[in-house]
Amino acid sequence: MELDSLYQEVILDHYKHPQHKGLNPVYTAQVSHVNTSCGDEITLNLNVENNVITSITWDGQGCSISQASVSMLTDLVTNKTLEQADAIVKSFSELMSSKGTAAGDPEVLEDAVVFAGVSKFPGRVKCALLGWMAFKDAAIQSQGEN
């Protein structure tokens, strides 16, 4: 079923068992984003020390796609430099705008390549990007402070 390309097991697994959920009170930047079309909300705390992401935590509510996506993001960028994280975000954004034509680079995105299926559903791309856009904001703010 076409739907299975959207709801991959690893996505639903992250949805049921979200990583890094629960806000760490220590952070260099805190941002809140909403998806205005459906009301999904996310707050993200990012802590950057010497240009390295030492902690990224979040809280929020939303659909399986938005929650799994932010969960996977936090796994991916923890202990990365801001530059490395930026490259990951770029790669993910490209995948999301591929309309189902790209497979994603597993070297960069690891498990997050499963979101390739989401790019075929234009209504869900915003869900997948919610946490990533929040992270992008937080990274810019943290950069200013470092």
Binding site: C38, C63, S64
Partner: protein, 416 residues
């Protein structure tokens, strides 16, 4: 004539197509926009292919025909809601209709009955669509007037226990929805209208979810302004209606200014044409207004009481079937009294967006989210809901398809 959904569906070309790899289209999103019967599509197309010209000007036959068609539509719409022709203003949407009233009130100078100051109040309800909330929030912000509102009870009705405290001697305008686009609740207007008129306030009724679904008569309701959109009433997009009592429209200052709405113009001054032209600046959305005329005619042909009866029966069936699903929470009145055929719900802990996606894969079109009524979602303590909104072309098969798809969603997302 008996009400036959099978026959009605034949009038709507969209039901000839299939969806998601050959599945029957189960369209349960008429609360967002209704599908169009062939007569509406043809009316709009005929206007362009046979009569197109700018109305109210041009000394030629096409201009005459276009004007006849446009003014003919005004007559049909007026009759459809029990108003007078000169009380019907064509706008681009119901949103514009409400903004017209709120901005025009903001333009009123001291001495005009619509002029607002910091000592005045504006009253809305907690169940408003953003289109009937934000224009009033903004008017309050611009004038310093206070914004007050009726709360919604946990059983999805307006809390009218304190009408006299909410609507006070300082209230200038009361803007309420006739039927909630989320809850389906049909609001009683009588007590609100009575109290508003007692204190000299005008009542603006958002009838977007009522006019397409039941017989609505402005004289009986005794409201002062009423707004609805064409596209939710099987009409075209790009046309809305503002109805207002003639003497109030006379006193209300214009909103949009320009061509067609003037009486006399010098380099430094202008005077206004009589209503409704005063509120229709520019070349109007003629083809869409004509299409809306055809839509009202189509609905009248079926009979609005028959449409309402059909929807009551269908709502009863849907409420019963849906309530039997484990984990179902209907966000709206549970009893089939004073409620329309809009049913919002949550299903256990499956996010509405995921439900919407799954039922779509089964050919069932629903809406998910806060439905442009974010404060209401907060009041009902739900981040989002799934909404099935039924209309004249839906029947029990559609309810069954929805229920089956919801059971499928439970199975699909419960597999972990």
């Amino acid at each position: 004539m008996s009400f036959s959904v099978a026959d009605i569906r034949k009038d709507f070309p969209i039901f000839e197509r299939t969806i998601r790899d050959g599945k029957r289209l189960v369209y349960l999103d008429s609360g967002a926009t209704a599908q169009k019967p062939r007569v509406v599509i043809n009316a709009e197309s005929d206007f362009y292919s046979k009569h197109n010209a700018a109305v109210h000007r041009g000394a030629h036959q096409l201009a005459e025909e276009a004007t006849d068609a446009y003014e003919g539509a005004r007559e049909i719409v007026a009759k459809f809601i029990g108003g007078q022709e000169n009380e019907i203003i064509f706008t681009k949407s119901a949103t514009e209709s409400i903004n017209l009233v709120s901005y025009a009130m903001g333009n009123a100078e001291a001495g005009n009955r619509f002029a607002l100051t910091a000592s005045d109040s504006i009253v809305v309800t907690e169940m408003e669509h953003h289109a009937n909330l934000i224009p009033w929030q903004q008017l309050a912000a611009r004038t310093g007037a206070q914004l007050n509102w009726f709360n919604v009870t946990q059983d999805s009705r307006l809390d009218l226990s304190n009408v006299d405290q909410i609507i006070t001697a300082n209230t200038k305008v009361v803007a309420i929805t006739h039927q909630s686009n989320v809850l389906g609740t049909i609001n009683p207007t009588e007590a609100i209208v009575k109290r508003a008129h007692e204190v000299g306030a005008v009542v603006v009724l958002d009838a977007c979810q009522s006019v397409p679904h039941m017989s609505v008569n402005v004289a009986e309701l005794d409201v002062d302004f009423l707004a609805f959109s064409g596209h939710k009433a099987v009409g075209p997009t790009g046309v809305g209606v503002l109805w207002g009592k003639a003497e109030l429209l006379d006193e209300l200052p214009p909103f949009l200014t320009g061509g067609s709405m003037i009486e006399n113009v010098t380099m430094s001054t202008a005077t206004w044409a009589p209503v409704p032209q005063k509120f229709e600046a520019g070349v109007p959305n003629m083809a869409q207004a004509v299409g809306l005329g055809a839509a009202c005619k189509y609905l009248s042909g079926l009979g609005m009481d028959a449409v309402r009866e059909h929807e009551i029966a269908l709502t009863g069936y849907a409420l019963e079937k849906m309530s039997s699903i484990e984990g179902m929470r209907i966000v709206g009145p549970l009893e089939n009294i004073a409620r329309g055929a809009t049913i919002s719900f949550t299903l256990a802990d499956i996010h509405p967006h995921d439900i919407g996606q799954y039922v779509d894969s089964q050919g069932v079109a629903v809406r998910t989210g806060h439905h442009c009524a974010w404060p209401l979602a907060r009041a009902m303590k739900v981040p989002a809901t799934t909404r099935a909104s039924f209309y004249l072309y839906n029947d029990e098969h559609d309810v069954d398809a929805l229920v089956e798809a919801l059971l499928g969603a439970q199975k699909y997302f419960g597999r972990f």
